[in-house]
């Protein structure tokens, strides 16, 4: 704690660790430390929510639905159809909630990001560190869902794990642009609206709970606008080997593009708030 005068400052002490490594990792570390505190409830809900969905919808609706129609679905049963969709839909929800209110806490409500940029870390490190945190969370939550899926026999273990990879990509494809949105608008009503009129409809109408072929033609036509639809297509390919609507590379490219583009877009408004 004794403050140094510049003459006694050792360069080892201050320069070496800074240039070393990837500074965004320090932001990730801080987020993980804070998240440890809510680990139990996070694990519980990550297990319980998909379990309830899969039991209620997969088995329940699967039982009343026409079995011959279900046999035509990718995976051969409604449960198998639903499981990968649920995996990516959960990833989307997690990414959205992580990129809305927690970002506001950092930027305005508790101003913790202002403390971060007073250190050698830069706004870009905050963007990347937070994004990394969402990816880690999505991976961990995805594994728990995959566990439920495998136990219920909705997908083979290898397929379920591959679908977790898709879920992580979907989380990034939502987290990055939504972070850009939040930093740009910084308005509670706008954030609530995004959740209500963006995330919730996507959750329901992106071919996660039922094939988009069941939707009226105009709605089917706009499915490619939904990043979640691309994720659901890829997740069914990964989990069940089901054929995708587009080339898998195209689905992947769109999600990667959203992730990278979103991260690039998010840096500017965040810097505008923190470094004005």
């Amino acid at each position: 704690m004794t403050p140094r005068t510049s003459s006694e400052t050792s360069t080892r002490d201050r320069a070496a660790p800074l240039s070393a490594g990837f500074p965004a990792v320090r932001v990730l570390e801080a987020r993980l430390l804070a998240a440890r505190r809510t680990l139990r409830s996070a694990v519980t809900s990550a297990l319980l929510n998909p379990l309830l969905y899969l039991l209620a919808m997969g088995l329940g609706i699967g039982a009343v639905a026409d079995p011959s129609a279900a046999a035509d679905l990718p995976g051969g049963s409604y449960l198998a159809f639903l499981a990968p969709g649920l995996l990516v839909a959960s990833a989307m929800q997690l990414a959205a909630s992580e990129s809305l209110w927690p970002l506001m806490v950092g930027l305005e409500w508790n101003r913790t990001y202002h403390a971060v940029v007073a250190t050698p870390l830069r706004p870009v490190d905050l963007v990347l560190g937070n994004l990394a945190f969402v990816l880690v969370r999505a991976a961990l939550a995805g594994m728990l869902i995959a566990l439920v899926i495998v136990v219920l026999g909705a997908a083979p273990i290898g397929g379920a794990l591959a679908a977790v990879g898709v879920a992580v990509l979907v989380a990034g494809a939502f987290a990055a642009p939504i972070a850009a949105f939040t930093a740009k608008v910084r308005s509670h009503p706008a954030m609530t609206a995004l959740m209500r009129f963006g995330i919730v409809p996507l959750f329901l109408f992106s071919g996660t709970f039922f094939p988009i072929e069941n939707l009226p033609a105009p709605l089917q036509a706009v499915a490619p606008v939904s990043p979640l639809w691309h994720g659901a297509e890829l997740a069914r390919l990964a989990a069940l080997g089901a054929p995708t609507a587009w080339h898998p590379g195209a689905h992947t490219g769109i999600l990667v593009g959203l992730l990278v583009g979103g991260a690039v877009l998010a840096e500017r408004p965040i810097r505008a708030v923190l470094c004005r």
Partner: protein, 306 residues
């Protein structure tokens, strides 16, 4: 003068049409406790944020530790400790974790940080509260933790933006004591305040800021000598109940405020006696030494704290 840690020339900050800092010149030497004294809105925080290498200047030149805070922001910030005006502790973390994470932001290893945190907790008198969430701390404790956090990287300069605003007198005195200890250990302190007593207590040298400009500069004693008389006699009487003619010749200079009259004089007792002779003793009379508050009033025609 020893090595300069801050050199600003024509330093300016604009937010749209509003000029928050208007072409100020400042030089701060290493080891100094330097203050920016001024009322709310004077431009103190904007100046601090530019020195802290988070806010790019709109015009002028600025060197901090010999570096350009815009191009070499990362290197500048690595050597600063910042106590912002508004608390920004991480409320999801404990006292100890706040220090740990902040040290990690500076790239320090956990091993390096462990003994440092123990020491900092003692310095901030928060050892018993180390495992508590920060939201359970009092205002004074939060402020001490923020100061401890600013020291985690062993900074060469500590920037303190209104370190005691909003604290009760006892908490302020504890904090002043900590800051004086820091200073004795050789830290350069740069602080802002709108309390003249704080500036007098802590600053070797200060500038008085008003409406984005520097209006005076010097040590507290020099400023008082230059802009106020040695002593002041305060007459506590409302402006409209006062017969100004009675004040003729009692002091070198007279300042009439809505709730009191300030008589600037070299001889407080003499002036007080004179006022009593003229029948003004019924109103409260207080003789005191001149302060930076008087300097500010003289320079701007306004009081520092409304």
């Amino acid at each position: 003068m020893s090595e300069l840690i801050v050199e600003a020339e024509g330093l300016t900050k604009r937010f749209g049409d509003r000029v928050a800092v208007d072409a100020i010149d400042v030089k701060i030497a290493q080891g100094e406790a330097f203050g920016f004294l001024g009322p709310n809105g004077a431009g103190k925080s904007s100046t601090m944020r530019m020195i802290g290498a988070v806010s790019p200047p709109s015009a002028g030149t600025l060197r901090v530790l010999g570096m350009d805070p815009v191009r070499q922001g990362v290197d500048v910030r690595a050597r600063l400790g910042v106590v912002p005006q508004e608390d920004n502790l991480d409320r999801e973390l404990t006292v100890e974790e706040n220090l740990l994470i902040y040290g990690r932001y500076f790239g320090l290893s956990r091993r390096e940080l462990r003994p440092r945190i123990t020491e900092l907790l003692e310095f901030a008198e928060l050892t018993e509260r180390r495992r508590d969430k920060t939201e359970t701390l009092s205002g004074g404790m939060k402020r001490r933790l923020t100061i401890a956090r600013a020291l985690v990287n062993r900074p060469e300069i500590v920037l303190l933006d209104e370190p005691t605003t909003g604290l009760d007198p006892q908490a302020r005195h504890i904090l002043w004591d900590r800051l004086r200890r820091l200073k004795r250990r050789g830290a350069s302190l740069i602080l802002t305040t709108h309390y003249m007593d704080e500036a007098e207590q802590l600053c070797d040298r200060l500038v008085v800021m008003d409406e984005a400009k520097i209006v005076a500069e010097g040590s507290p004693a020099d400023l008082i000598a230059a802009h106020a008389s040695r002593e002041v006699v305060e007459l506590h009487v409302a402006e409209d109940e006062l017969d100004l003619a009675l004040l003729d010749g009692v002091a070198d200079r007279i300042e009439v405020l809505p709730d009191r009259v300030l008589c600037y004089t070299g001889d407080g007792d003499g002036t007080a006696a004179l006022l009593a002779e003229r029948g003004l003793a019924r109103a409260g009379i207080v003789a005191r030494r001149a302060s930076l508050e008087d300097v500010f009033l003289r320079l701007t025609g306004r009081t520092l704290v409304e």
